[in-house]
Subunit: 398 residues, 2 copies
């Protein structure tokens, strides 16, 4: 890959938030051009070796829920071979067992491609046992199974990635129509993470555009309504502390993102549509220096949060209605509103936004989504031993 260096950054405590980076070439060439190692060069060439060093240690979690199988197959074909796909499915089991169909398709595909993979059903007792035995009951519901929800599937994915010995974990949606876009996301994860000298790093993708059908024509919208609002308030929050207005944060709802495992295990998570926005809130709370950090090692090394603009538009299957958009806005702003870091003036603006948009009632506060403490609290050793998870039918050995 050839991409620009991040032109500027915002710092908040131990966090470094990097400006959006532009991609020039999806493939940067076989040979390394020595000129790019010059300290005066603003473009960088990420070598195939650098990418491989990340990919062989990276799991790509693909949350699935009743998606079309042909789309999931396309997504698999776009994931670089050296990454381990981890499919966490919450698809229906009856009357038609869609999960069984997914298993069959993934297994056939991976036999042909000779690709290792992990697949698990989110509501299987075997997956629940990992969290029970690891003494992390937070993710389990009253039936002792992993909670429903995409965020919860993502947490299960991080857990399976760590159990598989992976050092990086990325997330890609299963309903993407363009394997070439999936491929670019995965490569951007590796390129982005390879830039960091800290063990605590994250890459978040801003899509080039998101095509919509308007009057029987494709319109390539740049920012969705949810992103526009989320990013505005995230930047307000940041600006309040730095004293300088900024619009650097552009990826408050980035579903396509990847983290180093060391960071993934130390963040708190939030349920529902707020999980991506809450990454930022958790970074500011835990490593911002305002609230004492439970992880002095992170305070020392610092975090690197990269934002990268994909060259590919994002064309996916799900068609989200207006109610869904309202819910996303409420959840995204809710996690900021309820943060102890949120200053009064930003709280007031958030309430105004949500009330004026009739997203919450006149006197109501936004919801406080369920939170999950850092996964570092899970006893992975015990869980790995007692659940013997890699031998089990639901978890095909990676």
């Amino acid at each position: 890959m050839r991409l620009e260096l991040p032109a500027n950054t915002e710092r908040f405590g131990a966090n470094t938030f990097h400006h959006i980076q532009k991609v020039f070439e999806m493939d940067g060439g076989y040979e390394m051009d020595a000129e790019f190692s010059s300290p005066f060069h603003i473009i960088q060439q990420i070598s195939r070796e650098q990418i491989y060093h990340i990919e062989r240690d990276m799991a790509i979690v693909i949350p699935v829920k009743n998606e079309r199988l042909r789309l999931l197959e396309g997504v698999l074909s776009g994931i670089p071979h050296d990454c381990l796909p981890i499919i966490v499915s919450n698809s229906q089991r009856e009357p038609v067992d869609r999960y069984r169909m997914e298993q069959a398709m993934v297994d056939t595909f991976c036999r042909y491609a000779k690709k290792r993979y992990v697949i698990a059903h989110q509501r299987s007792p075997e997956l629940a046992k990992v969290f029970r035995d690891g003494n992390y009951p937070h993710l389990l519901d009253e039936n002792g199974l992993v909670h429903n929800g995409k965020a919860e599937g993502m947490l299960a994915g991080i857990t399976l990635a760590h159990l598989s010995g992976k050092k990086y974990v990325g997330f890609i949606d299963s309903d993407n129509y363009f394997p070439g876009a999936v491929f670019e996301y995965a490569r951007l994860f590796s390129a982005g993470l390879s830039q960091s000298r800290s063990p605590y790093s994250m890459v978040r993708i801003q899509w080039q555009s998101k095509p919509k059908i308007v009057d029987s024509e494709l319109y390539f919208a740049k920012f969705g309504r949810v992103s526009r609002i989320t990013n505005h308030y995230l930047n307000s929050l940041l600006s309040h502390y730095t004293g300088f207005e900024t619009e650097l944060l552009r990826t408050g709802n980035a579903g396509e993102h990847a983290l180093s495992m060391a960071l993934a295990l130390r963040l708190d998570y939030s349920a529902g549509f707020s999980i991506e926005t809450y990454h930022f809130v958790s970074l500011l709370e835990k490593f911002g220096g305002v609230i004492p950090s439970p992880f002095p090692e992170v305070m020392k090394s610092g975090t690197d949060i990269y934002q990268m603009e994909s060259r590919n538009p994002h064309l996916h299957d799900a068609d989200k209605g207006n109610d869904h958009i309202k819910e996303m806005i409420e959840y995204s702003l809710g996690v900021m509103f309820h943060s102890p870091l949120c200053p009064e003036n930003v709280k007031k603006e958030i309430l105004q936004e949500l009330r004026a948009g009739k997203i919450i009632g006149k006197n109501a506060d936004p919801v406080l989504p369920r939170r999950y403490p850092a996964l570092v609290n899970l006893d992975f050793k015990t869980a790995a031993r007692t659940t013997d998870w890699q031998r089990h039918g639901n978890f095909i050995p990676a």
Copy 2:
């Protein structure tokens, strides 16, 4: 890349037409898996080295005509670094000089990416001089300039690729919305060509699907009307000679294709929308063994024609009306109809098809598009010397 071996083939004289090949992984992994070199394996892994050996010798010709600049920039970002993009533009020069804008954008992009490129205007006197000095007047019109038309731009592209010392030449349209799809096409060109042991090889891409907007929803059509008809008659033509009905030919109108230069210089070409279909006709005529071949060296080595199904759908800008589709059908069937190889029964069916579809009049025959003799007739040495083309402003040195 990981892709299946072509499961079966049709042979016609010295031509080998390979069955559509399926792609499993856009990236096949950093390390080579020895198992794939087993003679009993039906999947192959194309190494990064094999791809590089083709890419460094491959030019990608991008015909442009008043396309949106942001789409062209996206296409450039998807072309692997080691390929040489050759932009042949027939964009307007007044009242707004769109070609100047293209030059400026391409130059800026390639400076950042440090990518070599060639750009030329189809109607420039400098480009015409190559064909005049090379004693290949066929491509020039009454004004002494290269004929208008996409096919003619493609021929100019092959010529510039050969002058640039390239051994392979591929074609990618400039109005593709997904750089990731462009990337896959280019990689399929290399993967496909790397399979051949003959110096005379070609790769043709069948798109996974071509999304259309139907009732405000995307519909992923598999075959366009033109392709369906063209492929049907190409297969009839082939079947007539082999005596076995076949539907192996699936890429009769494949705009995305690549050829070894040795083959590109020895085919005849046809103007207008028939250029891709005429590839097959020219292969059958020149190397089919029915008509004596002007190139005994090709008869000896044979040709390898690969067809590969991309994983990416093809989403592009141009929206073609019904008249355009009728014209494409007439041209595609016209080149078959007028071939000395076309048997009477196929001719009759073609006439029926065109007349019943009201594409041609009741007693009319399809057009015979203008033809261009093989470019091997062009005196490249003289042209390269007298036109000093690489120094000229319109041809930025590669």
